[in-house]
Amino acid sequence: MKKDNQPIVENAASRRNFLKFSIASGALAMLSQIGELPAQENGDGSGEKVRLLNSEGKLVEVDKSAIKPLTENELNTIVSENRKRARKGIEGRKWVMVIDLARCKHALNCQEACNKHHHIPGDRQWLNVYKMQNAENTAPYWMPKTCFHCDNPPCVSVCPVDATFKRDDGIVLIDNERCIGCRFCMAGCPYSTRVFNWGEPENQDAVKDQPYDPEKSLPRKKGTVEKCDFCPDMLRMGHLPHCITACPNGVFFFGDRNEDTVTNGSETYKFSKLMEDKAGYRYLEDLGTEPNVYYLPPVDRLVPFDKSDNLPPVGGHDHNHKH
């Protein structure tokens, strides 16, 4: 860790340092709440305002005197607390996602939002929208795919050091401070979900000095594996994951199995009823991985799948069918 912490001001170089600082009175827990602090509460200071990025990626204004650098020890404590918390999961929850293939128009807003909020460098996105066609004479459709957060996750079974783990709330997460980079999980995952930081991750200036938090999967670390994490940092704050809120067509639903409810932000359904009514299924069910992402079949699509939109056919793969 760098020691020369400078108080931050709103300029290009400063953003990267934003989370290394806490509010003067700041207990560690407050770190994630910078955004909620109204600026006037810090009025007893110099009056000079500093703008910070909060954990939601919003700019907020706080008094300069209210900011002091974290010591190395404080930083380490935050990281170790983050890592401990990340393993437990959010109590009483069992997250589930439903993706309605009938609605997907390949807008890719989901991917864009995911890339932005996770500062994903290059073409290593966590969320992909596949062009699928189950057989030659069947209709093609778009299939967005996140991590399936399986209940029987092959990636977790093969991890030699407990770097990737299954939490009580169903999320499969990675601790990049633990990962040794053997990539057995990548070989183990049948859905090509996991991506690797082959070199020093690019374009990470905005996040690279944050204290590491597995729930944010940031800052990303060279030589370790990463993937879609269901945005547990958002869930903890009571928000939906970024892909769900970004989708203009309401394709993604998210919810809690315990409550038997899923929502895409504007519509809310009873999960079990939705599955029954729309014949929900899971991708490659016969692999026995027990995914927590369900699909609704691409029936009565809102828009026809445009064969002429310059997208080449599915490249030579003879097995792009669902089960």
Binding site: Y130, D162, C179, I180, G188, P190, S192, T289, V314, H319
Partner: protein, 448 residues
């Protein structure tokens, strides 16, 4: 020749000797290759695995297939020095230490090369501090370590009397070398009791190492077979790997014993008859491997299930076809045919065949590891409307590290050949009918 004369002659013939020009040149080449590999690895340490051609589809490449190759070759230690020893095949006595040296040097390199593949090598010790027993990698760490330890003991324990014999030969070696022999004789005085303990221990370890040896390569195969991927998702993988390992290991012994025989003119010890017998053994092992290959490819090819179909097409007629048929035909079928004839088992031809088998075996591991990763269940992601195709062409650094590791294995072997009696002096004496008393006396504290 009297019994003590026989021992005298054996010691003269089999004691470690200096290399000639060719030997020195060989060592020079190996050192250069190893250092080039080391240089590339230092760059990899600095820049990360980015310097390789690995990607999110082909996430395991030649580092892993090379690791499988090392583990495979190392299996021969157990074959020659344990299985043949226990089956009382006396003709293999001059080979047991050679096989053990091959085993030790290859298993050391297997352990090192797997670290090269890691994204975070500095966290290697996490395997011990945070190891989870359910992961096949942890099983591999356990059995490979066990195998290395037993192999080292099986190399050094039967060498005690030889060390004691050699350390008595003042003036024939530099003083440091003689002191080394003295140290590695661990106070051997060659009495009846010591011989009894040694023989018993060798016997017990020879039995113990067989399941451990089968385990190292079976577990290595499980690194693949425990996944859901087409081509790896096979119940045949354990025996298939073990059979292939015995085959390449036997070829390695033949290649090494040919080189050693030429270097030191050991025709009297590594006889044409031994080549003939090793050739027959290699034919048998190749046939077993052929059988497993047919099992591995014929049944899925017959069914053409989704998940296997595209992969098999790629292997049989697609981009991997030249390599696939090359390894099957030159690395297996032609050697089997040639070695079935007595003239095919003459030393020089057998040596060439063995080299071809070894090269074929290296590429066979490439074919086991890499093509499967070209065939994920999901289609390949499109970037900006263009489908990205899966590509893997190992980079210079990857090749340089891989070649360096192979050179380093040969270098370890060469150093051991240079400084150790790689044919057991006392066991050869026993084989030539020298009585126990004389052998004990020769390695005892008194001058001969």
């Amino acid at each position: 020749m009297s019994e003590s004369q026989i021992i005298q002659k054996l010691t003269d013939d089999l004691k470690p000797r200096k290399f000639g020009t060719m030997g020195k040149l060989w060592v020079g080449v190996l050192i250069i290759l190893s250092l080039t590999g080391l240089y590339s690895y230092l760059i990899q340490l600095r820049d990360g695995l980015e310097i390789t051609a690995l990607n999110n589809y082909v996430s395991w490449g030649i580092y892993i297939s090379n690791f499988v190759f090392f583990v495979a070759v190392s299996l021969v230690g157990s074959l020659i020095s344990a299985i043949l020893r226990l089956s009382n095949a006396k003709w293999s006595i001059p080979l047991s230490r050679i096989a053990e040296i091959i085993a030790v040097s290859n298993i050391i390199m297997a352990g090192l090369i797997i670290i090269v593949d890691m994204g975070r090598p500095e966290r290697f010790y996490y395997l011990f501090t945070y190891g989870r027993i359910q992961s096949p990698i942890v099983w591999d760490v356990i059995v490979v370590t066990t195998y290395l330890i037993i192999s080292l003991i099986l190399l050094f324990l039967p060498m005690l009397p030889d060390m004691a014999i050699l350390q008595k030969r003042k003036g024939e070696f530099p003083e440091w070398q003689r002191k080394l022999y003295k140290f590695f004789s661990f106070g051997w005085i060659g009495n009846k009791q010591q011989y009894a303990i040694m023989s018993r221990t060798i016997f017990q370890l020879s039995i113990l190492i067989i399941p451990v040896a089968l385990a190292i390569h079976t577990v290595t195969s499980w690194l693949f077979a425990t996944t859901l991927r087409g081509g790896w998702n096979s119940t045949n993988f354990g025996p298939y790997f073990v059979a292939g390992a015995f085959m390449v290991g036997a070829a390695a012994v033949i290649a090494v014993m040919y080189a050693a025989r030429r270097q030191y003119q050991l025709q009297e010890y590594i006889t044409d008859d031994i080549f003939d017998k090793m050739g027959k053994l290699l034919v048998m092992l190749s046939l077993v491997y052929l059988y497993f290959n047919i099992n591995e490819y014929l049944t899925p090819a017959f069914k053409q299930m989704v998940g296997e179909h595209a992969l098999l097409k790629d292997l049989f007629v697609g981009q991997f076809a030249p390599m696939f048929w090359g390894t099957q035909i030159f690395g297996m079928l032609i050697p089997i045919i040639l070695m079935s004839f007595p003239w095919g088992r003459k030393p020089r031809l057998l040596f060439i065949i063995s080299i071809v088998i070894i090269v074929g075996a290296w590429f066979k591991r490439y074919l086991i590891v890499i093509p499967t990763l070209f065939h994920p269940y999901l289609p390949v992601i499109e970037q900006n409307g263009v489908p990205t195709s899966i590509v893997y062409h190992p980079t210079f650094h990857e090749w340089s590290i891989t070649m360096g590791s192979l050179a380093a294995a040969l270098l370890i072997m060469t150093i051991l050949f240079r400084y150790l009696p790689f044919i057991s002096i006392w066991e050869m004496a026993e084989y030539k009918g020298v009585s126990e008393d004389h052998i004990q006396k020769a390695s005892g504290p008194h001058p001969v």
